[in-house]
């Protein structure tokens, strides 16, 4: 996919998302001018950009949809719930054809068929809707137009002189669309194309612009408003915009363009003694589009504001920036270390100041990657709605804390697990209305998706007020599957966590909604691969809550620096439970086994030195870092403990791709490199081997 195409795809995905949000709003709280406007704008934008890329299929289809929306907007057609459903399909289809077009596949037979049915449906709605059009709305339209026409003529008639640069067309704009804007803002009373710049026919280059226009334009817009029409092409046009009553400006115009005075005079549009011009329908350009003016104008403004708010940047650039910034912080740490030796206190102060500033800059750069969870959360609404409908359940999906920000790469990676868990909640959690009634609950179940920041991590909770986890069934299933031995007594928490076990599935209630592919064990390992954790809490018959904790970003890790042999290692801090010294007594009790008994439990010990086949020196002070992995404690035997460290994760390179248990490296303040443990893989590879 080339770059422009990728941009088109991204843009249209955004628009589709807007559309979906608006649609879901409409389905939930009913249509209003705003949400319909939103829909229209999104569809319109897609049509526009698709046109630029020459995707005729998309243009044709979106044009139909846009027509329908326009009618809804003008209240000629009621946005009924059937129509809303239809529009969801239209939206889905648009997204599909965009994908097909971007991949240059063209439409396949199935989507063509789908398209034809959808267009037929839209057409029939359009036809019926027109009939249903009430005379009241018609009358309203007429009066609106009329009031505009009869507004004070002299003061709001502008003279607009436009000359296009020869290579205007290369700007990607169309003269026609400029006229469309004019027609949206007001009324063109008079239009004189100026063709004096036109060369002989054999010299005409169809890629070049030779034409200019002198317009009399009636609108209550300000000069700035008119100038805004040319916002995107201001370098490619020469403009004169002034009130028709402004004689001075006419002179200025005529001195700029020789012979123009005569042309205008011949046309009766200019006299030294100004005469009033009767606005007539005939001089309207044929380019006029029958839109209701005020709405669109304000719509356009809203769009522009939104454009100015954000800037699209290649995420690689930001990664690079973060990387380099981290280097600067590290380099500064070196200086700091040197300064602290020199006892030069003014210097130390400046270095300290610099350090704080640099840390601020780093935090700010990090925050570029942070995006609010809202957008990805709202996408999930559809999934809950669909699931609920399919199952005949009533579910109110509540989103809380959507403004919470998280690293974009993390968001992308949790979206699948979230989908799965929400489906689970809707399918297995919330009961059918009848059951809920019999349990004395409100017929409508509530699923809450909540996000908030807590202690340097982001917490995402999925809570439902459904039946909770049936511990008896779960335990029985687990015994059947041999996950736990029969007759074993487990705490409630342990039972709840059984749902994360591989191979555990409540197969008796499998449906086409949940139980497709991803199991909860996959969800759990996905979350753990992001260095996050997952917990479940459930009260039978009342509610269940899944809590996910995630680090703010993947680029930085809070770690614990240790040394084993000649190599320094970093252990992710959130996995560490405690550190103990391996006393000679303990070593003796180990008696060449690789476990110690700690507080009455056997703790397996992984000797890092041995694991990585390094030479061992006896009689060294040895320490054990105890990490928790999959609800089990495991000790890592290392030599030195250095302490906590914030490390920037860097890849080690492909050569090291087969070394199990290392997820990357990090450069320390001293310039040395420490290797970062991937505890999950480290222990898995150990278990595999034994």
């Amino acid at each position: 996919m080339d770059e422009d195409l990728a941009l088109f795809y991204e843009d249209s995905s955004d628009q589709l998302q807007n559309m979906e949000n608006a649609l879901l709003d409409i389905i939930k709280v009913g249509a209003n001018a705003n949400s319909v406007g939103e829909l229209f704008r999104a569809m319109h934008t897609i049509k526009g950009i698709a046109g630029m890329f020459g995707f005729d299929d998309i243009v044709r289809f979106t044009h139909k949809a846009e027509n329908l929306l326009d009618n809804i907007r003008q209240e000629k057609i009621v946005f009924s719930s059937e129509l809303q459903e239809l529009f969801l399909l239209v939206k889905d289809h648009t997204s599909k054809i965009i994908e097909l077009c971007v991949n240059e596949d063209g439409l396949d037979a199935q989507s063509l068929k789908e398209q034809t049915t959808l267009i037929e449906k839209i057409d029939s709605v359009l036809a019926n809707g027109d009939l249903a059009q009430t005379s009241a709305t018609l009358g309203q339209n007429v009066t609106l137009d009329f009031s505009e026409l009869s507004s004070n003529q002299d003061n709001d008639v502008w003279h607009v002189s436009i000359r296009f640069a020869e290579d205007f067309f290369t700007s990607g704009m169309d003269i026609l669309s400029i006229f469309n804007y004019f027609n949206k803002m007001g009324k063109i009373l008079f239009n004189a194309p100026i063709i004096s710049g036109m060369p002989k026919i054999q010299e005409i280059n169809p890629l070049k612009t030779y034409i200019g226009f002198e317009l009399e334009f009636q609108s209550n817009a300000t000069k700035e408003d008119i100038e805004e029409i040319f916002e995107f092409v201001e370098d490619d046009v020469t403009l004169f915009i002034f009130k028709r009553s402004d004689k001075e400006a006419y002179h200025e115009l005529f001195s700029a363009y020789e012979g123009l005075q005569n042309i205008l005079q011949d046309l009766g549009q200019y006299e030294e003694e100004k005469k009033t011009i009767v606005p007539s329908e005939d001089v309207k350009t044929e380019m006029e589009v029958p839109f209701q003016n005020e709405n669109l104008e304000s719509d356009l403004k809203v769009e522009k504001k939104e454009l100015a708010k954000s800037l699209r940047v290649d995420s690689n650039k930001i990664d690079l920036l973060i990387n380099q910034m981290s280097e600067v912080v590290i380099a500064n740490a070196k200086i700091e270390a040197l300064v602290s030796k020199s006892e030069d206190s003014p210097l130390a102060e400046s270095v300290e100041e610099l350090k704080l500033l640099l840390e601020n800059v780093r935090d700010n750069i990090m925050s570029i990657r942070m995006v609010p969870l809202k957008d990805s959360f709202i996408k999930l609404r559809r999934i809950v709605n669909d699931t609920a409908k399919k199952l005949g359940k009533k579910i109110n999906f509540v989103i809380e804390g959507g403004e919470t920000e998280l690293d974009k790469t993390v968001i992308e990676k949790i979206s699948d697990p979230l989908v799965h868990m929400l489906r689970n909640s809707a399918d297995h959690g919330v009961e059918t209305p009848e059951v809920r009634k019999s349990r004395g609950k409100n017929e409508e179940g509530v699923i809450t998706l909540r996000a908030f920041a807590d202690a340097g991590m982001i917490v995402i909770e999925i809570e439902d007020d459904g039946g909770g986890i049936n511990k008896k069934v779960v335990l029985q299933k687990a015994i059947e599957k041999g996950i736990v031995p029969a007759g074993c007594v487990l705490t409630d928490k342990e039972i709840n966590h059984l749902i994360f076990e591989a191979g555990f599935s409540t197969a008796s209630e499998i449906s086409d909604i949940s139980g497709r592919g991803v199991g909860m064990d996959v969800v759990k390992s996905n979350i753990e691969s992001l260095r996050g954790s997952i917990e479940v809490h459930s009260v039978e018959l009342e509610s269940s809550k899944i809590t996910i904790r995630l680090p703010l970003t993947l680029a930085i890790i809070d770690g614990f620096l240790v040394q084993s042999g000649d190599t320094k290692y970093i252990i992710p801090l959130e996995l560490i439970r405690e550190c103990i010294e391996l006393t000679p007594a303990m070593r003796k009790s180990m008696n060449d086994n690789s476990y110690v008994t700690l507080r009455g439990e056997a703790l397996p010990i992984l000797d890092i030195r041995k694991h990585f086949s390094e030479k061992s020196y006896p009689n060294l002070r040895e320490n054990v870092v105890i990490v928790e992995f999959a609800n089990e404690l495991i000790g890592l035997k290392v030599d030195e403990l250095y302490g906590e460290i914030q490390a920037v994760i860097k890849p080690l390179g492909d050569i090291f791709s087969n070394v199990k248990g290392l997820s990357g490296g990090s450069i320390l303040g001293s310039g040395e490199i420490a290797l970062i443990f991937d505890i999950v893989n480290l222990i898995n590879s150990k278990i595999e081997r034994s």
């Binding site: 190599t567 990585f612 050569i655 420490a674």
Partner: protein, 163 residues
Amino acid sequence: MNDKIELLEEDELILNHENQYFLFYAHADLYGIDASFVKEIVEHQSFTKVPNLNRSILGVTNIRGDIVSVIDFLDRCNICKTILTKKSSFVILNHNGQKIALLIDEIYEVDGFDDARLLDAPKFGTKIKAQYISKLVEYRGQNVSILNLDALLNLEELSKEVR
């Protein structure tokens, strides 16, 4: 204008079939590497061992904030372990997108050879494995083995876990 001059120079290079080579000493023998792969040459510096890999992979080092793998050239060629001296250097290579620091004994020269002067490597009889050598050339009375980096830095071979 500038573009044209550059083009001419490029043409000349192509006409002369002359490539630039970076030449270095290792164990008193001269070796050459196509200079277009050489990113920079730095004094040898400390590195962090990465366990469980091919013996010749010494570990990783920090080259201006990048983590770069360090490979002992002589050990890679099964001659011996390089003994570090004042003249030992890291040649930073950019090979297939991988940055690799090759530990060598001493820098010698960068020079161009006409392609016509390059000889095919013999099937056997060279100190290092014949597959690591792409061409031979005589330079100031000494034999230079031009290295075949694809074979020398074969990722599959290097990344194999060793226990």
